[in-house]
Amino acid sequence: MALLNFSIPKESRERVYWAWIATAAILFLIGIVGMLKVLIQGLSVTGLHDQVPWGLWITQDLSSIGMGAGAFTLSAIVYLFRIERFKPLARAAVFVGFLGYTSAMIALAMDIGRPDRFWHAVVYWNVHSVLWEVTWCVMLYSTVLVLEFLPILFANSFFERWPWLGKFGHTLHKASPVFAAIGMGLSLLHQSSLGATYGVLSGRAIWFKPSLPVMFILSAVAGGISMTLLLPIIVGKLRNQRVISRELQFEVSRLAGYVLLAYLYLKIWDWAATSYYSHAPGTTEALTRLQATTPYTQTFWWLEIILGGLIPAAILLYRPLRRNDRYVMIALASVVMGVTVNRWNVTLSGLVAPPQWSPGVLRNLIVVSYIPSWTEIAVAVGIIGYALLGFSLGVRYLPIYPEKDLHEEY
């Protein structure tokens, strides 16, 4: 546990902070190099191919949008349901959401073959496509996040030279309840539609189920709240001073625990109904092939259910454990890990064991493989670097966490 005792002595804080910023910037630069390579040479530099056309970057999109779900959840709690005691986390949630959604957009811009045509979904409509709906919702919601984030940005002293910006920010902030309402509507739509992206594909039995959209939104809310809460605890540890109160931390971690429990409940039933109590030929056959050639089953049970679900749920819901910061940090990080692994498993499971269409028997056990290329990994690392850089600078220069000192040392 000494590993998690990472408060930094006051005198070396500046040095450590800038060293950290430099590290994040280097990660970001590695990503830029990868992105240039993709833009110049095309997607052939990835490990993707026609049988597995979606991979690491889609996992990153889905995960970072999922981790951004704390924004709509906490905005709704604070500005719609007027539960004021959650307010100290509202700005942080919006900020994390902003970073999550912008990360996803960078990854998407890399992933589509013609980034210059990203606007086509605005002009050419196919209302029958869930991806069309997702595109619209994500675009609109990102706009909402920007409008919610601007007042935080304009609070920086740099913008004091243009006083109208401050006024504009203030006006925007007054409209928070409106943004919260729109944001909740849009998020409820696209967070679940991202699951429906797979859930509506009747040709791939392992995906085709109505539970996917619901599991996606529940896991996104659990993961989003966890991410939003984990960051201020880490910042507090580094500063050796809490940035949010203990009471709020308890309450939010309990909320994360309950949402996680709801997700697990549905997930267990989903597994039981599709693979334990029944024998649906398509699903069974795909799972058999996955089991034979990939660590799908192990990662599903160990990383998604046990480490990413049951253990953190126990910590977050059992009071003596919830009162221990270290356990809570481990639990929240595990939830984030579990949701990310889930997005990977969902995406790859349907692709790696494709449906067999030949009437013969020779190719019945074929699985296709996918290993991300170094360029793909570099871009993914770069996007994480962007988020870390954005967050670390934001925490220092913007009023992300409440102004007033809590004077509560660890």
Binding site: Q41, G42, L43, S44, T46, L48, H49, D50, Q51, P53, W54, R82, I83, E84, R85, D111, I112, G113, R114, R117, F118, H120, A121, V123, Y124, W125, N126, V127, H128, S129, V130, L131, W132, V134, T135, K174, A175, P177, V178, T197, V200, L201, S202, G203, R204, E247, G350, L351, P354, P355, W357, S358, P359, G360, V361, L362, R363
Partner: protein, 280 residues
């Protein structure tokens, strides 16, 4: 533990500060309603992009076209020569084997009969790829052919993920290779596709459209028939208008017991196969 009281007193003063008056709410409701109407007009009404551009984009079920193109493949007759694959690559200018629109490989039935399965795009009437495309770049024509609008495709590859038959190919890089199948197996009749878009079998729709204009009958006259069908030395592939009872495909379907690939998907393919182990 002290709990924050959630009483009514805390809510009272809110009313004055509330930024939403009743009039604002009515305005919002009005704007939302108007937006819904506009949305309806733009998506399916006279202002829809398709209507403006005059593109026929049927949704499959209620087609008024007098044509519906189907293909038959007799797996018992097929000798596995692969001419159909090569003719397709030459005609549609697909230089690389990985990008084949029309694929083929040896397989064996449960009873032990060896056969060669070839598979073009099945041109499903309920095509999953058409449903999922976020920009409507892939669509089904009134005559049932599923094709791509390369200028509209954004390269998201959702159609590739949705298609259960692996018929779609993405341009992962700029295609500059020499086409080894030209001119032996045909000449390029369509433009090569750009990097970053999806491509697929079109049932050689350029031949069908031009052929009909010139008075030819697709499936009968070679100039109006898909390259793969023309190339087959044993006439294992048959093509034609299923709405015309005299067409080769209608006769093929009447004379043979046929099946379609994975009918359980509910995709309603328009390519029909004869079992490789049928009684002679």
């Amino acid at each position: 533990m002290k709990k924050q009281p959630r009483d009514k007193k805390a809510k009272q003063p809110k009313k004055e500060n509330s930024i939403l008056s009743r009039r604002d709410l009515l305005q919002i409701a009005g704007i939302t309603g108007a937006a819904a109407v506009v949305t309806q007009v733009i998506t399916s009404g006279p202002l829809s992009p398709d209507a403006i551009q005059g593109i026929e984009r049927g949704h499959g079920t209620d087609s008024n076209s007098e044509y519906e193109w189907h293909m038959g493949i007799d797996l018992a007759a097929c000798i596995g020569c692969q001419y159909c694959l090569w003719a397709c690559q030459a005609t549609n200018d697909v230089p690389s084997e990985d990008m084949r629109w029309n694929v083929g490989f040896p397989d064996r039935t449960e009873g032990g009969t060896d056969f060669f399965i070839t598979r073009p795009c099945l041109h499903c009437q309920e095509a999953p790829c058409v449903k999922v495309c976020p920009v409507g770049a892939t669509y089904i024509r009134e005559d049932g052919v599923v094709i791509m609008d390369y200028d509209r495709c954004i390269g998201c590859r959702y159609c590739e993920v949705a298609c259960p038959y692996d018929v779609r190919r993405f341009n992962w890089k700029v295609s500059t290779d020499d086409n080894p199948y030209q001119p032996t197996w045909g000449v390029a009749e369509v433009e090569r596709r750009v990097r970053g878009v999806i491509e697929k079998c079109t049932f050689c729709v350029h031949r069908i459209d031009r052929g009909l204009e010139q008075g030819f009958t697709p499936g009968v006259d070679r100039a109006a028939t898909p390259a793969c069908v023309n190339a087959c030395p044993v006439n294992a592939r048959v093509f034609g208008n299923a709405k015309d009872p005299e067409s080769p495909i209608s006769k093929f379907l009447k004379d043979n017991e046929t099946f379609r690939l994975r009918e359980d998907f509910g995709t309603e393919p328009k390519v029909h196969y004869v079992r490789p182990d049928k009684e002679a």
